[in-house]
């Protein structure tokens, strides 16, 4: 009887330890999040490349893309244990963060973006998206996906 009780206690303890140990540390891989990031990277860089033309000429496209970028941010924020990815999206979309979010603001304020600034920012925003994509890919398996620079 005593052995049986001790066995039961051991099983309960093991079950409790496993239950705690199994709580996720980070959100699992999401194919939808991965697709959001890869598609939006392509769309964003394509539109940025046209910033030698007046903002007004692309205002509608920019408004639509900004909405889609914000939707990706909200999607990431809505997933449990996904704070790191959600923060990455907030940085990408921050109107004062020097990446995609600010690019639209400067384009609107100046009317166009200079050739040199456009080239630099396309490179930086591309690298930013690579960081978002790389984190998502690594949730599934170890993946070397971002060059050291």
């Amino acid at each position: 009887m005593q052995i049986s009780n001790r066995f039961r206690q051991a099983v309960i303890t093991l079950a409790a330890v496993l239950a705690v140990a199994c709580a996720p540390l980070i959100a699992g891989y999401s194919l939808e999040a991965y697709r959001y990031a890869t598609t939006l990277k392509a769309e964003t860089l394509t539109l940025m490349a046209e910033a030698d033309e007046p903002f007004a000429q692309h205002a509608e496209e920019i408004r639509t893309l900004r909405t889609r970028l914000l939707a990706a941010q909200e999607f990431a924020a809505g997933m449990p244990m996904n704070q790191l990815s959600a923060r990455q999206w907030r940085i990408m979309n921050d109107p004062d963060g020097g990446l995609a979010g600010e690019f639209w603001v400067v384009w609107e304020r100046q009317g166009t973006i200079s050739t040199a600034a456009r080239a630099v920012q396309i490179q930086q925003v591309s690298s930013g998206f690579d960081e978002i994509i790389c984190l998502e890919a690594n949730k599934e398996k170890n993946t070397r996906c971002v060059p050291a620079q």
């Binding site: 140990a21 980070i26 960081e131």
Partner: protein, 109 residues
């Protein structure tokens, strides 16, 4: 040797490749990543200052570029932290599965 010793040995043997995959070079990898990034951005900053001086970019653009570099560093840090958490989770899950498999294999006929 008792059944329990067999079980512990089996777990130790199975855990070695899991742990070495996680620990091996992880700290160095993260440090190299950030160090090389900072070196590249230091070179960029010099070029951007020259572009501004030559009037090829505006002040507003220069500020955006510098803020972008800072944000990229933050994105990189978040990615490194996330990758390590994901690896840790895989290590933990691997060890739990290993313990359960070995326990079933050792104690059940």
């Amino acid at each position: 040797m008792s059944q329990f010793d067999d079980f512990i040995d089996a777990v130790k043997e199975g855990a070695t490749p899991l742990v070495s995959d996680f620990v091996g070079g992880l700290r160095d990898e993260a440090l190299n990543d950030i160090t090389s990034f900072l070196a590249a951005k230091a070179r960029d900053l010099q070029e951007w200052t020259a572009l501004l001086a030559r009037g090829e970019i505006t002040q507003l653009e220069f500020e955006m570029m510098v803020k972008g570099a800072k944000s990229l560093l933050e994105l990189r840090g978040l990615r490194i932290a996330g990758v390590q958490l994901a690896r840790l989770q895989r290590l933990r899950d691997g060890i739990i599965n290993l313990v359960i498999d070995k326990a079933l294999g050792t104690f059940l006929p």
